[in-house]
């Protein structure tokens, strides 16, 4: 893969990164051919070559679709249906709210990690001849880029990702509403976010499922922020709203915060489970390639 000149963030997508995503793509292909995972197929039943299932004959069906052999064997009038192979659309919805940029200077932020993981997944999808589009969202969803296909379009994706900067508050419900309002093709929607939305994630995922999309949740967390030596009298500043709250942090309070965070993660898992979506929690401390591999192993992306 040759590097193409363009305006994308060198600190995230350097040559090493590009080489690593190439390795990940090979690894993904190997995993697919080993039978562990098949090429991702659409669920659409149509006129493809792969037999999918039988169904009862209904008036108006083409006689050529009748399984005559079955009729001869069991005297049942069934129609043979085949899977219709088509290009898979992969939408990478990346949260770029200010909470994704929290952390001390020099620290790898959630947004950095989200962009890297998204780029890697995009490359793999492009290598798999899927259509890929990156969408940034915060309070609302930005207009999606035109889906691209083929490895040659990877830098288009990188440029789009490089243009993402932290801004705004998180409103996932509104963002997903706007996303579906653009009437994109059905496909896999990978939502990468910290999901710090007071309204929660459930309604947005249900909307995606209802509209025929297959959602996938990548929950990015920064465990380091939970254990920082921040006891004592501190002024907590909400990175999204700027709200100031003076409190005295005690170990007991930190324990309560951890419990609250676990409950919060449990809510995300439950929301994903309700719509049959894969939910994967990735710590920002985990390198992006390991994170991608975890996505592969969890299934749901290579398929």
């Amino acid at each position: 893969m040759a590097a193409e000149s363009g305006a994308f963030r060198d600190d995230l997508f350097d040559a090493q990164f590009l080489g690593r995503v190439e390795q990940l793509a090979l690894l993904a292909r190997r995993m697919a051919t080993s039978g562990a995972q098949a090429h991702r197929r659409s669920k659409k039943i149509g006129s493809g070559l792969e037999f999918a299932e039988h169904r009862d004959y209904a008036p108006g069906d083409e006689p050529s679709q009748i399984d005559w052999a079955l009729l001869a064997r069991s005297d049942q009038l069934q129609i043979r249906e085949y899977e219709e192979e088509e290009d898979l659309s992969v939408y990478l919805l990346i949260d770029h709210s200010r909470s994704m940029d929290a952390g001390p200077p020099g620290h790898v932020t959630l947004l950095d990690r989200a962009l890297q993981v998204s780029a890697a997944l995009a490359y793999i999808s492009l290598s798999n001849l899927d259509r890929v589009a990156a969408v940034a969202f915060a309070q609302g969803a930005d207009p999606p880029m035109r889906p691209v296909r083929g490895r040659g379009q990877f830098f288009t994706v990188l440029r789009a990702l490089s243009a993402v900067t932290p801004a705004g508050r998180t409103d996932i419900g509104m963002a997903l509403q706007q996303f579906v309002r653009y009437q994109p093709r059905k496909g896999l929607v990978v939502v990468v976010s910290d999901f710090f939305d007071p309204a929660g994630l459930g309604d947005g995922l249900k909307l995606l499922a209802h509209r025929g999309f297959q959602p996938m949740v990548l929950h990015l967390v920064d465990a380091g922020l939970l254990t920082a030596g921040s006891y004592g009298d501190v002024a907590l500043v909400d990175s999204e709203t700027g709200e100031l709250r003076e409190i005295t942090l005690t170990p007991a309070m930190m324990d309560e915060y951890r419990k609250a965070f676990e409950a919060f993660c449990g809510d995300i898992d439950r929301a994903a489970r309700e719509v049959g979506a894969l939910c994967l929690r990735l710590d920002v401390a985990v390198p992006y390639d390991d994170a991608v591999l975890r996505v592969f192993r969890a299934g749901g992306f290579l398929g």
Partner: protein, 668 residues
């Protein structure tokens, strides 16, 4: 730069450190800003921890208060030299000490063990007071101002203000006991005058009795009492005046002879009754012995001991509180008596021996002015004269009104076989068988009544019996409620009152008798009845001759106006008496019998009365707060912490507490 060597430098250094710490502390409250990605989660956490919000507020409040304490203490420490300049440290505070030595007569009392000890163990209280005063003087700084005062009935300056210890020692050694009582009020006034305007004014009072405040009320003087005599031991045990009754003393300390009365039997001056009033301060009955001693010459306890004049040793049981014990039929041939209460157990130790003694002297009783109204007779006159106290004036009943208008009030009015209107508040003795004018006194006339004594314990019936006495007639006297039937006539199984007495509103006697209508027995025994009646009507319950109070000026009536009267004070050599207007003037604190004798051998003897101030519990009760001299307690005040340093220490303590709280919040 060398290390600081004195404590002041160290404290200054500590102040700087504290100020720096305080500055750091002031900077500390700036909160660190921590950016969190999701404030909503923290809101949730805070909501969950509402239950502990109260505790956290308290913690913050404590922190705030501690901060205020730190700030206040640091400001106090820094500002101390400005608003309260310290006195120059090289010049510590000095006292102006008025050393007052009690030289009243009681200070000549010999204290020691009775009676088997040798003479070497006896010492008087003044000697002990001198020792105490000198010992105290030696503790004072060399340049401290001291004045020495001798206090008794008046105050005398033995050494004026100065710091020459030799002069002051000589003055103390020259103090001698006087025969005067102690005038605490005068001492107080003189001490105030001497100390007025002097810095660090205080009185050091060396005495066997309490400091001046105990009698003259609250005072602004600082008084330190150096107790001598028995009070010294008691002050060592008495700490709380409220707990004075719970002093752990021996049983004898709880017993006291409060009063002693000697009363000759009417009609027989050689026999008398001794009444001893004993006070038991404990809450239980105590067995004891009353030792009655009599003598012609002995005047005080040692004298009665020396002369071996023991007459009677009576075991008693003294109930709690006051009790009376009578010794009857006492031979009064030796007119001076002493009663000593002794412990039932020889091992009992008495730390307050002076109040175990009481004294009495037989003296002439005062004459009573008796006004006889009505028909007198020789038997009545003889009876009155035989009583030895009556100066009789006889008048007719018709002249009574005119007489009382011009003559002084008599001690007793005797209405004999007459009916007159006597003023209501006058003691009246009515003897009559005639029908009285008072309708309430109208009674039946009895023929040859058989009289029986019904109230033998009454003072008028003491020693009286009507056995074998015949009366031709008698008139019954109706007894009203509250009146005492002294004697009654037995008639048909009933007892009809004939002799009646009443106490209120004034003492009065009614006799339904006529001496002329009795036999010789009654006529002869009439003097006893008359003596009893006159003594009772004249108020015999009160002391006939009051005792002389110790420590007060006396004016003792003398029977003549001769100028050669001499005064014999107990334990002191005889000396000329001070005479004025026919009275001997004196005062003493020597408990015993005081005697005045003229050149013709006429004697007047009066016993003294122990004043309440001699009660060791009163004397030992701490009055003013004892004042400790800095030199005497040098070890206790080796280092006087400057006030600003105390502020600083308080700041450091508060700062440490706050720092610990902060660390607990920060690092746990």
């Amino acid at each position: 730069m060398g290390a600081p060597t004195d404590i002041g430098s160290w404290l200054s250094l500590a102040a700087l450190v504290a100020a720096a710490l305080g500055l750091l502390y002031l900077l500390r409250p700036r909160r660190r800003r921590v950016e969190v990605p999701f404030g909503g989660l923290w809101r949730q956490v805070l909501a969950q921890s509402q239950a502990r919000t109260f505790g956290r507020r308290w913690q913050r409040l404590w922190s705030f208060l501690l901060f205020l304490a730190v700030a206040g203490a640091v400001l106090g420490a820094l500002g101390e030299p400005l608003w309260r300049p310290e006195p120059p440290p090289q010049r510590p505070m000095r006292w102006s000490t008025l050393l007052a030595v009690d030289v009243s007569a009681s200070m000549a009392t010999l204290d020691g063990r009775l009676p088997t000890t040798t003479a070497a163990t006896w010492h008087d209280r003044l000697a002990e007071a001198r020792r105490e005063a000198l010992r105290f003087l030696d503790t004072l700084p060399a340049d401290e101002a001291v004045a020495v005062l001798a206090a008794s009935g008046h105050t005398a300056v033995l050494a004026g203000w100065g710091s020459d210890r030799d002069v002051q020692r000589k003055a103390i050694a020259a103090a001698t006991a006087t025969d005067a009582g102690l005038d605490l009020r005068r001492l107080h006034l003189d001490a105030e005058a001497m100390l007025r305007g002097r810095p660090g004014a205080r009185v050091v009072w060396v005495s066997d009795t309490g400091p001046p405040q105990s009698e003259v009320g609250p005072t602004s003087l600082a008084v330190q009492w150096l107790a001598v005599g028995p009070a010294r031991d008691l002050t060592a045990t008495v700490r709380d005046p409220q707990a004075a009754t719970s002093v752990d003393t021996g049983p004898l300390d709880d017993l006291e002879v409060r009063d002693l009365r000697l009363r000759p039997v009417p009609g027989d001056r050689d026999v008398g009754t001794l009444t001893v009033q004993v006070l038991n301060r404990s809450d239980r009955a105590l067995p004891a012995r009353l030792a009655v001693r009599s003598s012609n010459e002995a005047q005080h306890a040692a004298g009665f001991h020396r002369d071996a004049t023991l007459r009677l040793l009576r075991p008693i049981v003294a109930p709690p509180g006051e009790s009376r014990h009578e010794v009857a039929d006492l031979d009064l041939a030796e007119p001076q008596f002493a009663v000593h209460i002794e412990g039932a157990e020889p091992a009992w130790r008495d730390r307050a021996p002076w109040n175990d003694w009481a004294f009495a002297a037989v003296s002439d009783l005062r004459q009573l002015q008796v006004l006889v109204v009505g028909d007198s007779n020789q038997f009545l006159r003889g009876a009155l004269l035989a009583s030895g106290r009556a100066e009789v004036t006889e008048i007719a009943a018709e002249a009574f009104a005119a007489h009382i208008a011009r003559a002084p009030r008599p001690d007793v009015v005797l209405v004999h076989q007459a009916a007159v209107a006597v003023p209501a508040q006058w003691p009246v003795w009515t003897i009559s068988v005639a029908a009285p004018s008072d309708p309430t006194r109208t009674g039946a006339l009895l023929q040859a009544p058989d009289l029986l004594v019904r109230a033998g314990g009454h003072p008028t019936m003491r020693g009286v019996s009507f056995q074998d006495t015949n009366f031709d007639t008698a008139r019954t006297v109706p007894a009203l409620p509250g009146q005492v039937v002294l004697a009654a006539a037995a008639v048909a199984g009933r007892h009809l009152p004939v002799l009646v007495a009443t106490e209120a509103p004034v003492r009065q006697l009614w006799w339904g008798l006529d001496l002329l209508e009795t036999d010789l027995v009654a006529r002869i025994s009439m003097p006893i009845l008359a003596a009893n009646a006159l003594a009772w009507l004249a108020g015999d319950a009160e002391p006939l001759v009051p005792a002389l109070p110790l420590g007060r000026p006396w004016a003792v009536e003398l029977p003549n106006r001769r100028a050669d009267w001499r005064y014999r004070e107990p334990g002191v050599a005889e000396r000329p008496a001070r005479i004025a207007a026919g009275q001997a003037l004196a005062s003493s604190e020597r408990h015993g019998i005081h005697v005045w004798v003229d050149g013709q051998g006429v004697r007047v003897a009066r016993a003294s009365d122990l004043p309440r101030s001699e009660d060791p519990r009163i004397a030992a009760a701490p009055g003013p707060r004892p004042v400790q001299h800095p030199a005497a307690t040098a070890s206790e005040h080796a280092f006087d912490l400057p006030r600003w340093a105390a502020w600083l220490l308080a700041a450091l303590v508060a700062l440490t507490a706050e720092w610990l709280l902060y660390l607990r919040r920060r690092t746990l």
